[in-house]
């Protein structure tokens, strides 16, 4: 984070629980929306807007955002598209890493989500856009292949579908969300500066 003085308000349990509920609900709806409207190989979609919010929630809301927006929301969203709970849970682990890696990288690397310096941009592109999506795609598509949704022979096609669509979505939408909301959020009690 930058050295600018900011008012950091203490978060109540009610605030944290509300953040958790809303983060999970948004990513669940967007996950189901992406799978139904832009199907590729459900629950993998050709355009998955939820991932942009997963990354942003992980960076803004810490572990709460990573768990609620990264795992629980996608888990519920995948179930809503008709996939079984055990496979949904495994696929959602891939989604979790798509939020957890950005959360970890931005705190450990002290990158600013307002993307003010070139260091912040490099951190965003390397960790949020590329690394997190590569890990998520590997775990997510691997879980679907292990669950028998498609044979292992087509794993590379599914992996590429997941990875490419996500890096485009995160590269465009998350970047705009960071530029528009980070400054405002960092002045409110909703922003989580540490891990929790």
């Amino acid at each position: 984070m930058t050295s600018e003085a900011r008012v950091v308000r203490k978060k109540s349990p009610a605030t944290l629980v509300s953040l958790f509920i809303v983060s999970a609900a948004i990513t669940a709806v967007l996950g189901a929306f992406g799978s139904i409207v832009f199907p590729f190989l459900a629950p993998i979609s050709s355009f998955y807007p939820g991932v942009a919010f997963q990354v942003a929630f992980g960076v803004w809301f810490g572990l709460i955002g990573a768990i609620a927006g990264g795992w629980l929301g996608p888990f519920i969203g995948i179930i809503l598209t008709g996939t079984s709970a055990p496979i949904a849970a495994a696929v959602a682990v891939g989604d979790f890493f798509q939020a957890f890696i950005p959360m970890l990288a931005f705190r450990a690397g002290r990158f600013d989500p307002r993307l003010k310096t070139s260091k912040d941009w490099v951190g965003h592109i390397v960790f949020n856009v590329i690394l997190a999506q590569a890990v998520g795609a590997t775990i997510g598509t691997g879980s679907l292949a292990a669950g028998g949704v498609f044979p292992w022979d087509v794993f590379p096609i599914a992996w590429l579908g997941w990875f490419v669509s996500n890096i485009v979505v995160v590269g465009v939408i998350t970047t705009i969300l960071f530029k528009v909301f980070s400054d405002y959020l960092m002045k409110t009690a909703l922003y989580v500066e540490g891990y929790i």
């Binding site: 809303v22 967007l30 189901a32 919010f53 598209t81 528009v180």
Partner: protein, 283 residues
């Protein structure tokens, strides 16, 4: 377009009141049903048992008087997924064993690949209808009671019930914003992928704004009601377990044991050696 999708999402997640045996089951039992039977259906090793499982689930769906609308929607979603899966299994998976069904140019379709896909399709239809059955027969507040009965901490049951309740709210917000932007002339169908993504930002930004506002309102509301994560909670709304609930648990566990035994080959999973007709040629 937005209206149709909104209808799909709302249809998928809404409790629909009806009168049937299944609606009166304890919510904890219905939750266990989705978890336990999903696992036992997924580990089913043969087509014969998978057909039995699908028949059991369809019987439950019929007895429960599950609304046809929910089933139609789930059939549409899972049908599309299985269609793509069929193409991948049929045309993009090398034929390693078994006879070849047909050859289309460079693409070779093997019988074993088709049978593998059929097994996946039978399992996924069964699990999908099971999920539909649970979602349309369980109220959000009953889910909280179910989780509490399963000894989940209060905060977990509260959060899960609240998330499910908020799904419909967020869904309505999303499609209200899409409709509002469309009425201002924003066409989501025009432009290349990047242009469409940039247009989606015009949906994402209001959605986040509305959601952050709601987070603050919800936070104030639950704080005003004295919310705390610790301490013993009392609840005036309770649902007692009845004999039929225990009977259903016995049925689920028995089903799981049979499927585990079949998966471990403790008996012939094709049931051919017990005189059952071979519905599908041996894979």
């Amino acid at each position: 377009m937005a209206y149709v999708i909104s209808d799909i999402l709302k249809g998928l997640i809404l409790y629909t009141p009806r009168q049937s045996f299944f609606y009166r089951l304890h919510p904890a039992v219905k939750l266990l049903l989705v978890l336990i039977m999903s696992i036992s259906i997924l580990i089913t090793p043969s087509h014969t048992l998978a057909i039995f499982n699908l028949a059991i689930v369809i019987s439950m769906v019929a007895v429960a008087r599950t609304p046809a609308k929910a089933l139609r929607l789930y059939t549409l979603v899972i049908g599309w997924m299985l269609f793509i899966s069929f193409i991948l299994y049929s045309f993009f998976t090398p034929v390693r064993s078994g006879p070849v069904v047909t050859t289309i140019g460079p693409l070779v379709v093997g019988l074993k690949n088709l049978l593998d896909w059929l097994l996946v399709a039978l399992k996924f239809f069964a699990v999908s209808y099971l999920t539909a059955l649970w979602l349309v027969t369980t109220k959000h507040r009953d889910l909280a009671v179910g989780l509490k009965t399963l000894k989940m901490p209060y905060v977990v049951s509260f959060v899960m019930a609240s998330i499910l309740r908020n799904l419909a709210v967020v869904s309505v917000d999303l499609f209200t914003i899409i409709d509002a932007q469309s009425s201002r002339g924003l066409d989501f169908k025009k432009g290349n992928l990047i242009a469409r993504l940039a247009k989606f930002v015009r949906v994402g930004i209001p959605l986040i704004y509305v959601s952050l506002k709601r987070t603050e309102e919800m936070s104030n509301a639950i704080a005003a009601r004295g919310f705390s994560m610790r301490g013993k909670k009392t609840n005036y709304y309770q649902i007692p377990m009845k004999t039929k609930d225990y009977a259903f648990i016995v049925f689920m566990v028995t089903h799981l044991v049979i499927m585990v035994a079949a998966a471990l080959r403790l008996f012939d999973p094709t049931l051919a050696s017990y005189g059952f007709p071979q519905l599908i040629a041996s894979t």
